[in-house]
Symmetry: C2
């Protein structure tokens, strides 16, 4: 691959760019604009992946160049032009291929609290208990948020059957937060009543 001299002409997308697959997956559900895709990260996708519009718009352009998506312009009102993107057959294949690939990598979790904990050397460090308390509040809040999402999104069995994967990951996230809180509470020393 180093001797052909053609590599620079190819529109290449980094192998580890997983955002592109999220975009393909979202567009597989229905045609959407860049704005719509951006909004999706405020809602369900936001629970497990983050992206801003400044990353999405350029990527849409690249995906169109690689032939994975196309767009058509629709005009709302007098002059506001929206670009509705949709998958091409090639884009759909690419999505299916990605889902079918093995996922042999462990999550690279980058939890700042865990990082700080590592540098707490002794059980009686006065910073430990306040840190645990802060994290309990944080994760209890996240747990309530996730439970609320589950209650509002999956109100009946039909909703679960139509978006089973989404149901699974929300269920997984809820359990993860429950266990996180339980773990934190186990190491929290109750404060004395004064």
């Amino acid at each position: 691959m180093k001797t052909t001299g053609f590599e620079k002409e190819a529109v290449t997308i980094g192998q580890r760019n997983r955002l592109q697959y999220i975009i393909l997956g979202l567009l597989d559900q229905r045609p959407q604009t860049g704005y719509d895709l951006t909004k999706a990260f405020d809602n369900e996708i936001g629970e497990f992946w983050q992206a801003q519009h400044s990353q999405i718009y350029p990527l849409l352009k690249r995906l169109e160049e690689t032939g994975d998506i196309t767009h058509e312009v629709t005009v709302t009102g007098e002059k506001l032009a929206k670009k509705q993107y949709q998958l091409t057959p090639a884009g759909h294949e690419k999505l299916v291929a990605w889902i079918g690939e093995p996922s042999p990598e462990l999550t690279a979790l980058k939890d700042e609290f865990i990082l700080k904990l590592y540098f707490i050397k002794t059980v009686d460090d006065p910073r430990l208990q306040p840190m645990l308390q802060e994290q309990i509040l944080l994760h209890q809040r996240q747990l309530r948020h996730l439970q609320h999402r589950q209650e509002t999104v999956f109100t009946n069995q039909a909703a679960i059957d139509q978006a089973y994967g989404h149901y699974l990951i929300l269920d997984h996230a809820i359990e993860r937060e429950q266990h996180y809180v339980q773990w934190l509470e186990r190491y929290l020393t109750p404060r004395k009543d004064s």
Copy 2:
């Protein structure tokens, strides 16, 4: 901050650069070389943060410029010069300040398997069960690895007392993997005996 004209002269390190604190924290334990720090990511730190030497060496240079660390050169054998880095009082303060700050952000977990699951729409999708099986093997392996680490690193109470935070995060990681495997197994449909 936008009108002084002096900003460009300051050596600034991005606010979210948490690798610098890992380096400060590791150097707080004992003076070390860039190579030693890199090795630390192959071992315990590697469980929850990743960095290559190509990121570490330039950062050591910047931390020295900002006055957080200093180094002295020691020669091994005939001519191999090692740079032993150590914290300055300013660097120590910076580490302490960071640990003392609140950590109000949730982990941005970027789990490719979870991402793929989101796009599985129905319970009878033939890709689902193989995906669950693959992840069970992956997380069982990780669980065994973590348990082995715990058994070898924390062989007695004294070891726990000296590195309590490390003990906590290893304990946390083990429980997280246990729950992950349990969760996966719950959705795994047993294969029929043929």
